[in-house]
Amino acid sequence: MNRIAPTGLRIGLLGLGAALALTTAAIPAPGAFAQDAAQLVISVKDHKFDPAELEAPAGKPLVLRVKNLDPTPMEFESNSLRVEKVLTGNGEAVINIRPQAAGRYDFFDDFHASTTKGVLVVK
């Protein structure tokens, strides 16, 4: 009984090590991926997206740069695009979006969901 707990612990640590190794080994990927991606920029001022509607090509990965010009933090979120990210006040974030089919995709600031809404039109 005494000998088993360390075994369990060793398995736990192995798993943890593997998870970390996997994460670090794979980090160079973003740069290579971003090259053929369509670049988009959006800013937030007074809790409003500008522009409130973005256009993007279908079937291409997208890189959306969000600039928060408000002093308050925000959380960029979209259920349909499967992204969520917290931005500091006056902060910037890069949001990677997978190739999407044509359609309209809503996004919003989760901290100010009633005022800060936008839509990405993919065609």
């Binding site: 009984m1 980090i27 973003p30 959380e75 902060g91 890069v94 009633s114």
Partner: protein, 276 residues
Amino acid sequence: MIAALIIVFREVFEAGLVIGIVLAVTQGVPRRAVWISGGVAAGVLGSCLMAAFAGVISQAFAGSGQELVNAAVLAVAVVMLTWHNVWMARHGRELAAEFRAAGEAVVSGSKSVAALAVVVCVAVLREGFEVVMFLYGVLATEGATGLEVLTGGIAGMLLGALVCAATYFGMLTIPQRYLFGVTSFMIALLAAGMAAQAIGFLEQANVVLALDRVAWDSSWLLSDSSILGRVLRTLIGYNDRPTVMQLTVYCATLAVMFSLMKLLAPPPRGRHPVTA
């Protein structure tokens, strides 16, 4: 105020579910209150630290720092939940039988609580970070109305604590002889859900690119952002638009956990373990 209550409650409530489950699982383990409240405290402290360094974290790793931190933290929780379940499969039954008698078992019991304290810390950290960011933003800029929002925030946290208590007492109604099986199963689903969520963050960071096709879209039936959707997301890892990779990892986590539990479970002859 209501908006703040809703935002804070939504975050706190997921942590509340996890803490409620952990409390039920550690029923009867000595000093569990110390461990679990320690986990909560560490999570709150971590949230504040993460919020303080949010800008730095965000810019790290080509702008994917936040996703990678989220994924790493979730991975730690998955490992801890797995370790707990495997350990309980090994010792759980003897533990329940001779809890107060065997001093050794009590010491080992605390080891398993430590793993779960880490899980609690992770749950609080992940949800707490967003709460801290939100409340900080309100307090920093909105002055007088800030107080009202803060009140809403505190009310949200109290409601979250209620969820925690409801989960705990709800689980205590499960008859003792089923409790072990039910909790192992719940912890396995919790871990699988967290693993799939970690993959979601790695996908968002463009680290995991394989099998990124969305397997199905059930948002018309049950949205991730609805109350029930959120409960199920925390408890079983429900996702209204999972990718094939997330499904794969979800199943793999369950498979690995149950195989380890089976592999390391005491052989059947050890029905009456001899105390060394």
